[in-house]
Structures are given as structure tokens and as C-alpha cells.
Amino acid sequence: MTMLFYLAGAVALISTISVTISTNVVHALVYLIISLLAVAVIFFVLGAPFAAMLEAIVYAGAIMVLFLFAMMMLNLGQATENEEKAWLRPQLWVGPGLLILALLVQLVSVLVTQRVDVVPVEVGVHELSVLLFGPWLLAVELASMLLLAGLIAAYHLAKR
């Protein structure tokens, strides 16, 4: 399981980096899907199979399909690719790189100084739903209201 965790983590890292540096939008999207699936595997290894499946269904399976769908309508060609290449000049990466480095140092130091042994406990679908529709019912209902508002807004925009 530990091996699987690190493997999925490595895949997630590499594919996420590829998302940022690839100049072709469709390739970037494919890498993003791979990254999301790797995160789903990580969820699974950490003992949350339900979250893993939802990650695959909702993020990789539905939201990314809509992204790709929108991309198909846009007819992006060589011009966009050149534009993307121009944006990827090395000097633009100095600032973000420094900030990321600061975060990395912080992360490594936390990992080195505070050793927390996390033992993955599998949380089944049943336990999760008891929690969601018991103590956290209000949060679930609020989230559903937010989604409804989004739905109504989308309907309104499509009508105009």
C-alpha cells in the first residue's frame, strides 16, 4: 500500500507539472485527468474508497468532459500554441519558483520535525453517509442550495 501511495503521488506530481508546461491545451487536459485519477488512487490507499470513486466520477468523469467539450468548440490551433509558448519563457518562472521553494522548505521541515504516524483507517460508504446525513446535514443542505443557485444562473445565462 505504501508503494502504491508513493507511485500515485509521483504520477500526480509529474502529470500536474505537465499540465502547466504543455503548450497544447488538449494534452494539458489529458494530463489533468491523469492527475485527478492519481489523486483518486491516493484517496483509495488512504482508506476513503467513496471519496476516490467520487473524485473519478465527478472530477475526472464529468467536469473534465465539459472542459474538453468547451475546448472542442473553440477551434484552437497553432496560433494558441505559439501564444502559450511565449508565455512559458523561463524568466517568468523566477517569481513563482521562489515562492514554491519557500513552500517546499516549509513542507520538508514540517515533515522532518513533526513525525505523525498516520495509520489509514478505511471509512466505508455507510459510516460516511451516517456522518453526512447526521451531524453534517446542515452543510450538505447548504452545498445543495449553492449548486441549485449555480444551476439557475446557468439556465438564465443560456436563455439570453
Binding site: N24, V26, H27, V30, I33, P49, F50, A52, M53, L54, A56, I57, A60, G61, A62, V65, L66, L68, F69, M71, M72, M73, G124, V125
Partner: protein, 321 residues
């Protein structure tokens, strides 16, 4: 035990059987269509034309595997294996018989839905990478159709899940010992079947590849084994939907004891495969906008209503109301 769930031998046997059966379905479909249309169908190669599939395989492997120069090579090569991969992955959670299967997962139903939703990428990427207007039209249609029908497919299954109280497909079969779910979940069964045909874009819902309108849709530019993967993927999809229907609504391997469980599973699945082929021969293709309107305005409310009634029934039975 060498034959228990998940042993390498049974994984290999299931993988081999599923692929061979899917390839043989090409011949079965042509012969059955011939039978129903009062003609012979392929009967030249081997006994009853059984070796037709072998001949087709040799032909398709020997064909030139061509990538058009205007295509986006990365996505073009990536698209066909996706459909094979996701459908074969879905077979891992199917309980064929007691002790026969690849994994016994507690999130089996969700896994099938996740894989079905990933299947959309195959046709979308294939059509988009082909850089051809017919292919693009086909994959646009495929994307809209698969995303829409996925919704009803998921909701129609939830009735069965509510009655069983588990996402595990093996538990779902065992819960049908006293009566198959086709009786309490008849509406769910109909919606799941229609959505399943739309998901595997078979006739009559083969709008993404409608020959008369858009050449061959998303696989216009494909040839050789890349086309073969799309083609076999379609038959794998038929096999998957048939076995899911059997597992979810027709009691899986359950049946009178004079035949072993696996035989019951195979018999029931063959019935649905034949039904899908008959459907292909019998029903004309709807228009694209008709398919969409039908889905969102009729199937969605119906599946939600079915889920609500099932939920109320389960609560009433438990004495919670």
C-alpha cells in the same frame, strides 16, 4: 484455492473469455441480423462461418495502421485504447458466479459508473485529434450524449442500491434471493437499459457515428487495429451492459439448482445480448435533438420519481414513517 475471487488464474481466464466473447459477438450479430432479415449472413469461413472472426482479425492486423499527418498524434494514438481499458476494468467488479470474479469491491456500482464516465474521453479525444469536421461533429454528439445519459444511468441504479443497502454488486445479487429486482425496479430497469444503449452508442442510439449523416463519426480517420479497438470496444460495451442488467435486475447467477450458477449467468446475459441485436434490427435511429429532449425532459424526471418512491418504500418497510 486457485479459482477463488482475484487469483491470477481467474483474472486471466475472465480477461481471455471476455475478449474472445466480445470478438465472437461480431459474428453472432451478423448471423442473427441475417436470420431476422431473412438472409444468411456470413457462413463461408469454417463451420457456420465461425472462423469469420479469425479471418477479420488477420485482415485487421495486416492492414496499414495509418496516422493522418494533420492529426494530433498524441491524442490520436491515446484514444482507442481508452475505451478497451475502461470497459475491461469495469468487468473486474462483475460477480459472474459465487467465487468467480476479479475483485469483491464495496464500491462496485460506483466503480462501474466512474469507468463509464471515463469512456467518454475515448470518443471525444478520437474525434478531436482526427482534425476532421465529420469526426468533430461525431465526437461532439458523443460527448453530449454520454454525459447526459450517464446522469440517468446513475440515478436509475440508485433504486437497486437503496433496496440492497450496499454498493457491492455481489451483495446486490445475494439480496435478490427472494425475488429479482426487475419487479420492484421495473422503471429503473427500463431507464438503465436505454441509458446503457446510449452509453455504448449502439444502434438505435449510434448518433455519434451515423453513417448516413457524418461518414463514420468519431472514427472516420481510424484504420487497422486502432479502428479495431473502437469496434471491439463497442461489443465489449454490449457485453458489459448485458451482464450489468443481469446482475442488477435479474438476479445474477441465481436460478433453479439444476444448472450451475455460471450457466445461469451466461444464459441470462446471452438473452440480453440477443435482445440488443434485435433492437438494432428493429428500431430506426432518432434525431440528435430528439434523443437529448427525450433524455432530459422524460428520463430524468422519471428516474428521480422512481428513486423517491423507492426511498419512501424502503423507509416505510423499516417502519421509519
Amino acid at each position: 484455492m486457485v479459482w477463488e475471487v482475484g487469483s491470477p488464474l481467474s483474472i486471466g481466464a475472465i480477461l481471455f473469455t471476455v475478449i474472445i466473447v466480445a470478438a465472437m459477438l461480431i459474428w453472432v450479430e451478423r448471423r442473427l441480423l441475417g436470420l431476422w432479415q431473412e438472409r444468411l449472413g456470413p457462413n463461408r469461413v469454417g463451420p457456420f462461418g465461425l472462423l469469420q472472426v479469425v479471418a477479420d482479425m488477420i485482415k485487421i492486423f495486416a492492414k496499414e495502421d495509418w496516422v493522418p499527418p494533420f492529426a494530433d498524434k498524441f491524442s490520436f494514438v491515446l484514444a482507442p485504447p481508452i475505451i478497451m481499458f475502461v470497459i475491461l476494468m469495469s468487468f473486474t467488479v462483475i460477480p459472474f458466479a459465487p467465487g468467480v470474479g476479479v475483485i469483491d469491491s464495496d464500491v462496485g456500482v460506483l466503480f462501474v459508473l466512474a469507468m463509464a464516465s471515463l469512456g467518454a474521453y475515448s470518443v471525444m479525444l478520437g474525434g478531436l485529434a482526427s482534425n476532421n469536421k465529420y469526426a468533430l461533429l461525431g465526437s461532439l454528439r458523443a460527448a453530449a450524449q454520454m454525459v447526459s445519459y450517464e446522469v440517468f444511468m446513475g440515478i436509475s441504479l440508485l433504486g437497486v442500491v437503496a433496496l440492497t443497502g450496499s454498493f457491492n454488486l455481489r451483495d446486490i445479487v445475494i439480496a435478490q434471493t427472494d425475488g429479482w429486482f426487475i419487479i420492484p425496479q421495473f422503471i429503473g430497469f427500463l431507464i438503465f437499459m436505454i441509458a446503457g444503449i446510449a452509453e455504448s452508442h449502439r444502434l438505435p442510439f449510434d448518433i455519434p457515428e451515423a453513417e448516413q449523416e457524418i461518414v463514420a463519426g468519431y472514427h472516420t480517420e481510424y484504420s487497422g487495429m486502432k479502428f479495431g479497438m473502437f469496434f471491439v470496444g463497442e461489443y465489449l460495451g454490449v457485453l458489459l451492459i448485458s451482464s450489468l442488467l443481469v446482475v442488477l435486475f435479474f438476479g445474477g447467477w441465481l436460478g433453479p439448482a439444476f444448472l450451475p450458477p455460471i450457466v445461469w449467468f451466461v444464459l441470462k446475459t446471452s438473452f440480453f445480448i440477443a435482445f440488443f441485436i434485435l433492437l438494432r434490427a428493429a428500431i430506426p435511429r432518432p434525431r440528435y435533438d430528439q434523443l437529448m429532449t427525450y433524455g432530459w425532459l422524460f428520463l430524468l424526471p422519471l428516474s428521480l420519481l422512481n428513486l423517491m418512491i423507492t426511498g419512501a418504500f424502503v423507509l416505510w418497510q423499516e417502519g421509519g414513517m
